[in-house]
């Protein structure tokens, strides 16, 4: 039997309430008395219990939506029950009121420079390619991002894809063959689509987001030791990297910092319920970000495996949409380049990005005594519209707990 959950009257003069947060998601089992959602009134935010047991069949409104009391907000049904929403709730309720327009999934193109497209920024997302070029590219597993189009307006057309297929040297992400400067010889090349998109997105980020930066230094001796021990037990191809540790550490740390795992759209701050860590990966003509979903909920080895698989796909030019979409926080690690520290540009519309430098042995002072320690610097760039120095600094401190006490990553 399906039951309608309505916006409850939580105060004698309450006329409407805002669904601040869904505690139970669709398809979750719920028992009578379980907290279903948090409702915000103009006085306070209140937890609301479910009066029904079963499965959350449908959430009828999205977080952040305000509706009058008595409005249906959810349907709880028996497990496996099919519910005709039109009949049960009526047509108007079956089309959920939305607080903000969701970015349309099919506006997200095959390749982008950042994981989540800004709602206003669709034009620069699109790689111009003719339908048949796209189709052939898809069939052959060739990435359009690395093809220069010779059609009008730089459109990628069939002949471009056919050419790319034939010549192995123009395979995306092949070797990092760097051309050197020939004395006196100017070289003009067309900027690749990928580079162009990265440029547009990060320019916009740089220009519109008020960045501020906090650098912290972490004692990674324990981390490196743990890694070594772990890798002894694992076959070669499943070895975990320092970055894998950082991914999990950051994800766990973010649990207590919802503002840093958020996106801003206008004046609405969406704090994401999931922690998806984006990892920047260098490719031949630019940069891609692969996404480790729910990194706070996955064991280190699984994170490592997934990240490696995605990176492999990226380098083979067979990256999938799911690989590169949906990150809520990004990590950029240039540690392998002997970089002390650096500052990264936030991936819009995320709240922050963590730039990680190399782990190195340096002289350190401990209780007034000189010693050698393993230190790694990380710099967070954060969006001052969403967070502030204190919070970001707290996060960096909190991160330390996970980086310097790696046993917590396995808890």
């Amino acid at each position: 039997m399906a039951n309608i959950v309505e916006m409850p009257k939580l105060g004698f003069d309450m006329a409407e309430g805002t669904l601040a947060k869904w505690v139970k998601s669709e398809k979750d089992p719920v028992e009578k008395g379980d907290i279903l959602a948090e409702i915000e009134t103009d006085k306070a935010t209140v937890e609301v219990e479910s009066a029904f047991g079963g499965i959350v069949y449908k959430q009828l409104i999205t977080e952040g939506t305000a509706v009058p009391i008595g409005t249906p907000i959810a349907v709880v049904a028996e497990k496996g029950e099919e519910v005709d929403l039109d009949t049960l709730v009526g047509k108007s309720a079956a089309e959920p009121a939305q607080a903000e327009p969701e970015p349309e999934p099919d506006q997200q193109r095959a390749i982008h420079a950042s994981a989540q497209p800004a709602a206003s920024d669709e034009e620069s997302e699109i790689i111009k390619a003719s339908p048949i070029a796209k189709r052939i590219a898809k069939e052959k597993g060739i990435s359009l991002a690395n093809i220069t189009g010779t059609g009008p307006g730089g459109r990628i057309v069939k002949r471009d894809v056919e050419k790319a297929e034939k010549s192995p040297s123009s395979q995306p992400y092949a070797s990092k063959s760097k051309a050197s400067i020939q004395a006196g010889v100017d070289e003009e090349i067309q900027v690749s689509n990928l580079r162009k998109m990265i440029g547009e997105r990060l320019t916009e980020s740089r220009q519109t987001v008020p960045h501020f930066y906090i650098t912290s230094m972490y004692d990674v001796a324990e981390l490196l030791k743990t890694r070594k021990q772990l890798n002894k037990e694992l076959p070669d191809e499943q070895r975990v990297s320092v970055n894998d540790f950082i991914i999990r550490a950051a994800a766990l740390a973010l649990r207590d910092f919802p503002n840093l795992n958020a996106s801003l759209s206008g004046t609405t701050l969406k704090r994401h319920g999931d922690i998806h860590i984006g990892v920047a990966v260098a490719v031949d003509n630019g940069l891609l970000t692969v996404v480790v979903r729910n990194a706070d909920q996955k064991p280190l080895t699984q994170i490592s495996q997934e990240a490696n698989e995605m990176i492999r796909r990226v380098k083979a030019g067979k990256v999938r949409n799911d690989d590169i979409e949906g990150s809520t926080f990004t990590i950029s690690n240039l540690g392998m380049y002997n970089v002390e520290d650096f500052v990264a540009i936030i991936n819009p519309p995320e709240a922050a990005i963590l730039a990680v430098g190399s782990a190195k042995q340096i002289p350190v002072a401990i209780d007034g005594e000189l010693d050698i320690g393993w230190r790694m610097k990380a710099t967070i760039s954060a969006d001052h519209r969403i967070t502030d120095g204190a919070e970001a600094a707290e996060f960096m401190q909190h991160l330390a707990i996970f980086l310097e006490q790696p046993w917590r990553l396995f808890a």
Binding site: S130, P131, I132, A133, R135, G151, P152, V157, K158
Partner: protein, 324 residues
Amino acid sequence: MAVITMREAISQALWEEMERDEKVFIQGEEVGVWGGTYAVTKGFLDHFGPDRVRDTPIAEAAIVGAAVGAAMAGMRPVAELMTINFAFVAMDHIVNEAAKMHYMFGGQFKLPLVIRAPGGGGRQLAATHSQTPDVIFAHFPGLKVVAPGTPADAKGLLKEAIRIDDPVMFIENATVYQQKGEVPDGDYTIPIGKSKVQREGSDVTLVAYSKMVYYAMQAADILAKEGIEVEIVDLRSLRPLDMTPVLTSFKKTNRAVIAEEGWRSYGVGAEVASRIYEEAFDYLDAPIQRVAQKEVPLPYNARLEQMALPQVDDIVKAVREVLK
């Protein structure tokens, strides 16, 4: 196989059908004594007599309307409109009566009439005498609209139009009656509603009909010298519209140019392009190019008139454009 002109092909078709079936007769302005203002019916009056070759008053609604009535009562009239520009006077009888009688009365009446009408511009006849309003007639279900581009097609299609029991608008082009082509010997008909590949090629699909087929052939020769081979698909009928050969060609070439003498907006190109986008979207390598008349009433001045009309060169340019 004989080589004859468009005029001869149409004239022969009419003559042969009138010989074949005494129910077939002609009526229109100056078709009898004058022999037709484009000389298509020259000699008909003497041979078939005034009952079957009828000079009418200048009254297009009556010319077409009476043809509708005669057809409903068992005759097989071929009404001639001196030019398609005069069709508007008979518009009601073409699109409201001829096109709909069979439907509205539940199939009780057959309308085996043919309305012949030459159109097209380029002879300095000024705006109201120079139009190519083919799409207007092609818009109406219930009518069949045919516009052949070669003498062989003209002969076979006109015979078919006369023999079938549906109302057919048979659109000729007034400026290409002397265009020559090979025509099969003997009696033959061509089914209405079938497009035809007039020239094979692998680089671009060039869709055309009526006079534009003639131009397309010339453009094809020019382009062949540059190593570009276009495939010319002649629609032949506008309603029913046969997209099959067009799509087959397009799936091969991925690029299309559509040429018509009418205006671009709301034209044949608009319909054909839409259908290509709908049915062969994943084969598209470039936006489809349309070659058409500029959106102006056709002027009297010779130079301006030619500027407005689509030329062979416009087709050549469009093919080069679509290949970019």
